[in-house]
């Protein structure tokens, strides 16, 4: 079947490049067509890349604690850009301090992110979720 296209990157002023590379390789090996935008990616760059490549999902990473601020309004911008119902994931150290992840997940859900992943999530978990959400056998 046709490869599903993912847009990945590290949002905001964040320069953590290692995890981003690991995800790139893991997703590519899992059979996805991966558009890796690297680090310091703005919401607009994620969205523009998803439009041109007709992406199936946008996966946002954030490791420096500012993720919540950086992700605010992203779903609305996707809607505005015509990326109707595109799958939105977020993962990493997405908030500051030790907060119960259930609460964090709820907040990101309210912001329109379909799934959130806590620190230390192995890529296999994301891949399983992607397969489920994108109906890949």
């Amino acid at each position: 079947m046709e490869k599903k296209t993912l847009v990945i990157g590290v949002i905001g002023a964040d320069v953590h490049a290692v995890g981003n590379q690991i995800l790139y390789h893991a997703f590519t090996d899992a059979g996805f067509n991966v558009i890796n935008l690297g680090v310091m990616v703005s919401q607009e760059e994620f969205i523009s890349a998803a439009i041109e490549t007709n992406a199936d999902a946008i996966l946002v990473s954030s490791l420096y604690g500012q993720g919540e601020l950086d992700c605010r309004g992203m779903r609305e911008k996707c809607d505005e850009a015509g990326l109707d119902n595109i799958l939105l994931y977020v993962g990493g150290n997405i908030v500051i301090g030790k907060q119960p992840f259930e609460e964090v997940e709820q907040r990101f859900k309210a912001m329109g992110f379909d799934r959130s992943f806590p620190p230390g999530t192995p890529p296999e978990v994301d891949i399983e979720c992607l397969k489920e959400d994108l109906h890949i056998q």
Binding site: A13, D14, V15, N33, A49, I51, E52, T53, N54, A55
Partner: protein, 462 residues
């Protein structure tokens, strides 16, 4: 002796340049008014007659021509996202030597359709979507173009999964399909589209613009004048098989209606840790500022630089500057004839150079994060370029070319703009660059030697 004639059909002048390729020598140059509306041969013949008054009669073995007559190669382009495929489309068209009247992004609407019909371009470049990516937009735009009618050729260089469908939608139209200008996300692939644009230009446009009468006399390579300039700049920078080039450079051409900037440079950051953002830049990049020119676009210079700055630079009062600018805007053929108008023209040229080079050059931003300072570069880094080539009527005849060219340099008041730190200036006094670009197709060694003789020997050390 192997005499070759190079012809440049301009919008107001036909310029001829005679060279001997065996000796790699410039024999002479001359120019005359272009008369493309009536018969292009009149302008050409009178230019040749003028030339022969200097050189005596010459039997030319070969004749080559470039043209920017009748508005040049007028193009429109459409892409998807403004900063991505629409920008790539613009980049491809400019690099093919076209005059890009407008670039559309996203789906064309009714107003766009009416505008396109009215503009009736020489070529329309239709792109959008990476290969396997979005196809909705390009298909929609193909439908709009089909409904517009007209007979302008359409070059399709978008998502490869959609181009054949576009061709079917545009059945009955002249359509040329080539590789995607952005096959993968963030990868710029503009050479194939440029090649096709050039072929269409040769086949159709040259004929339509009344250049066929002259073309009997011409042995080959008709190209848009800006393409010839690009070829010349590439040759000068890179050199030939036998001679080494002068290295990376920028070229500045301030005209009456537009200001063109060319850079031959990879434009990479000095510090390898600097991050690059945005579309990759072509090695030979051409930008055209449609709002910056010495006469037709004089208002654009004022809007961008401010009347006070121009007045100050010219040493005139704001009121007097306004008056003179008004006069220049109305009488576009006016040449500076007094100290006042000379000073104003010079100030305008300085600002035109600064604005256009600043728009052409990339920028670097400093950002702070938890890991310390990070640098992000967008566009080309031109800081290490140490040669500026000056061409175009408005600059090559002024007395203070060096002063004007210095406005292309790095400016402490605008520290994020990556303009050259210091450079020597090469002035195209005899206006031969486009001719040498033409010559370089068959005689690169001669073209390079002549350029080095005529340009490099005019080095004004800064």
């Amino acid at each position: 002796m192997n005499p070759v004639l190079l012809i440049d059909f301009g919008s107001t002048y036909t310029k001829v340049t005679a060279v001997d390729t065996d000796e790699a020598k410039l024999l002479g140059t001359a120019s005359s008014y272009t008369t493309v509306q009536t018969d292009i041969n009149n302008g050409l013949n009178s230019a040749i007659a003028k030339l022969e008054m200097m050189t005596g009669h010459i039997e030319y073995r070969e004749r080559y021509a470039a043209s920017s007559a009748a508005g040049g190669l007028r193009m429109l382009a459409s892409g998807l996202v403004p900063e991505l495929t629409a920008e790539a489309a613009k980049c491809a068209s400019l690099g093919a030597g076209a005059k890009v009247l407008k670039t559309y992004a996203f789906e064309l609407n009714e107003d766009d359709a009416n505008e396109i019909r009215k503009i009736d371009p020489d070529i329309f470049l239709l792109v959008g979507g990476t290969d396997g990516g979005n196809s909705k937009c390009i298909l929609h735009n193909a439908k709009v173009l089909a409904e517009i009618g007209g007979d302008f050729p359409i070059v399709i260089a978008g998502n490869r999964n959609a181009v054949r469908e576009c061709e079917r939608i545009l059945a009955g139209r002249e359509v040329h399909i080539c590789e995607n200008v952005m096959p993968k996300f963030g990868v710029l692939n503009i050479a194939p589209a440029q090649q096709v644009i050039r072929e269409v230009f040769l086949k159709k446009i040259v004929r339509a613009k009344g250049l066929t009468e002259a073309s009997e006399l011409i042995s080959g390579i008709m190209m848009p004048t800006p393409s010839a300039v690009m070829a010349a700049m590439k040759l000068l920078a890179e050199g030939t098989e036998k001679q080494s080039g002068i290295g990376e450079l920028i070229a500045v051409d301030v005209g009456g209606a537009t200001t063109d900037i060319y850079s031959v440079s990879d434009g990479m950051p000095d510090d390898p840790r600097t991050m690059m953002k945005g579309l990759p830049e072509p090695y030979i990049k051409r930008t055209v500022e449609g709002d910056i020119g010495m006469r037709y676009s004089i208002r654009g210079i004022v809007d961008s630089a401010g009347i006070k700055t121009i007045a100050e630079l010219a040493g005139l009062t704001v009121e007097r500057t306004e008056e003179l600018i008004e006069r220049f805007a109305e009488h576009t053929d006016l040449l500076p004839d007094s100290d006042e108008t000379k000073a104003l023209d010079e100030a305008l040229a300085c600002m035109a150079v600064r604005i256009a080079v600043t728009r052409h050059a990339g920028r670097i931003e400093e950002t702070y994060n938890m890991c310390g300072t990070a640098y992000v570069q967008t566009g080309k880094n031109l800081m290490n370029i140490d040669r500026i080539v000056i061409t175009g009527g408005s600059l090559i005849h002024t007395e203070h070319t060096e002063h004007i060219a210095s406005f292309a340099l790095y400016d402490e008041k605008d520290p994020t703009s990556l303009k050259p730190k210091k450079a020597s200036v090469l002035v195209d006094r005899k206006y031969i660059i486009a001719a040498m670009g033409l010559l370089s197709e068959h005689y690169p060694e001669a073209a390079f030697t002549i350029m080095k003789e005529e340009l490099v020997n005019n080095v004004i050390a800064k």
